[in-house]
Symmetry: C2
Subunit: 343 residues, 2 copies
Amino acid sequence: MATLRDVAREAGVSVATASRAINGLGNVTAPTRAAVMAAVKKLNFVPHSGARSLTRRKTDTVGVILPDLFGEFFSEIIRGIDLVAHESGMHLLLGNMHGSTHETAAAIAAMRGRVDGLLVMPPDLKPELLADYLDPALPTVLLNYDAGPLDLPFVAVDNYQGAYAMTAALIARGARQIVHIAGPKHNRDARDRQRGFVDAMSKIGGVRNPAILPGDFSEESGAQAARLLVQGQLPADAVFAANDQMAVGLIAGLAEAGKSVPKDVMVAGFDDIPLARHLNPSLSTMQVHIDRLGSTAMMMLLRILRGETLGAASATILTPELIARGTTAGAIHQESATAAPRA
Amino acid sequence: MATLRDVAREAGVSVATASRAINGLGNVTAPTRAAVMAAVKKLNFVPHSGARSLTRRKTDTVGVILPDLFGEFFSEIIRGIDLVAHESGMHLLLGNMHGSTHETAAAIAAMRGRVDGLLVMPPDLKPELLADYLDPALPTVLLNYDAGPLDLPFVAVDNYQGAYAMTAALIARGARQIVHIAGPKHNRDARDRQRGFVDAMSKIGGVRNPAILPGDFSEESGAQAARLLVQGQLPADAVFAANDQMAVGLIAGLAEAGKSVPKDVMVAGFDDIPLARHLNPSLSTMQVHIDRLGSTAMMMLLRILRGETLGAASATILTPELIARGTTAGAIHQESATAAPRA
DNA sequence: GTTCACACGGTAACCGGTTACAAGGCCGCA
DNA sequence: TGCGGCCTTGTAACCGGTTACCGTGTGAAC
């Protein structure tokens, strides 16, 4: 591979001149520039971004660290990030923490010197740990994670409010015995959704200890919940799953047990994954514009890179929207989400 | 941010010793190493990967260039790649050609000096152009693309055979008037699938010029095809869409027009996206293990990086599998896919 | 006590660019 | 013709690591 020195030699100029010509720095005469460009073409020279970023002290790359890469949720986030990054000529370096704390530390450390900033989504990490791993000098925006004491900017979905609104809607629709299928215990999204559910049940439904079944956001755990529900003879006229994936498994499980949705029991999910509208009956859910999560975070990061100072106060909270579909009989009263108190 | 020299100074040793201690290179005494490590801890030193890769002449990163980042298809590919890459401690640098030829060139050029190898999926690029863009010195594996004259290793899905098998199955199931919804004209996958369909129709069905409707792989174009079909009164007892996405739109369109699937018309797709099994009736399709496309390509790239020489002869062809579901009435005779001639 | 081998650790070149600074050439003006 | 100033170009330091090569010091062998 040709280097800048090869080009300079070929064009009969110094490396400095070659560099200036290639980068269009003005103080190069037209003939000199032409000679350099001819050499570039002849040798098929492409600048070595690694070396370049060493001196320029910027890499035009942002690191994206996600808990996993599975499913439409993450691909939508990446797409949202890429959309904005691409406009600014930035590249994406993917890091995957593969669910392990140790891997998370490694993923973040490996980014040093490769990226100008970081987009991190650590749904089940304690803030103190995160603080240890992150380099304070590296601009960082958190995804779907309120860093609390860390004073880092973040973009999050108002899970509490969303769950509250959905629960309210189910109650308004006439449900009295609503069961919640929770997400992973350590997952913040899951916990916030559960809190929203519990609070709505208490404040609107007047129910103190609503039934909650365990789950882990997987389709299988939704099916499992269906079994528990039916075999345990848990009285329920509606089930609110903490995400759509589990709602899908739940519906399949209920169908197997001979329960009809929404006649025997209403079902609601959270996220509005593409599959939701295609189910039969179609799934009522809280719509989250997942790609906006990514693009908003990326825009915040770009602002920091341009010199602005952003802290936790600059956080953006995306409010999910209630989408009433077939699994709640299409007759949900669309309660105003803003009626719910903030967490 | 602390540099190696800072660490060396703090530990009272030279940079060389610090480097050796940190990288565990043996010729350092235990006390010296301890001193260095203490300094590392104290200064919170993390090696600068950019600088390191400059001298080591490897980046532990592979570039992944995809035509787009939309939908489950690409997220599955990335997941497959990551699975293998992660095991070898490699990182992923994402490049998106955003559908434009010019962007493709830019994306590939931007990778120079950042990656040790490239995984490229250029579904609608001419091989000659691709050859111009690619650096022959950079190990490259193509995804879903037979480079033909380029002698580059690739991983592809046997689209021809898959379409042939599906068409054969529809015929075996009793369909006589099968309509194909094609994909984008310049897309190689789409063209191969169309060829498989046409050949099967001719060789097995004895039909010379089977009906083909235009499409572009989008759900909307499937719905459009449904309209054409119904309004144009095209006689059809089965429709074979070139991908699942279009089949989904098609089914919705047919339902709107009052046509029943599979009673009035059978429907088949291609890809087996996760949605397929959840439709009602569930979608018959050719199952492609998309993640394997990615992981296989990554494994080939790793072999090249380890010193092996791989050319077009080392290509891997993944054979899709027929999945008969509800939209073909669950009664398709599973014709052996191997009965079809190779393209 | 001297010599030698060997292990440890330091100096400096290098990876491939960028850029501060200096040098040289050309011009205009007196 | 001589001088100053500007514009172009070259030299070399630098980014932050790695590593070839060399020097030093210790212990063992004579």
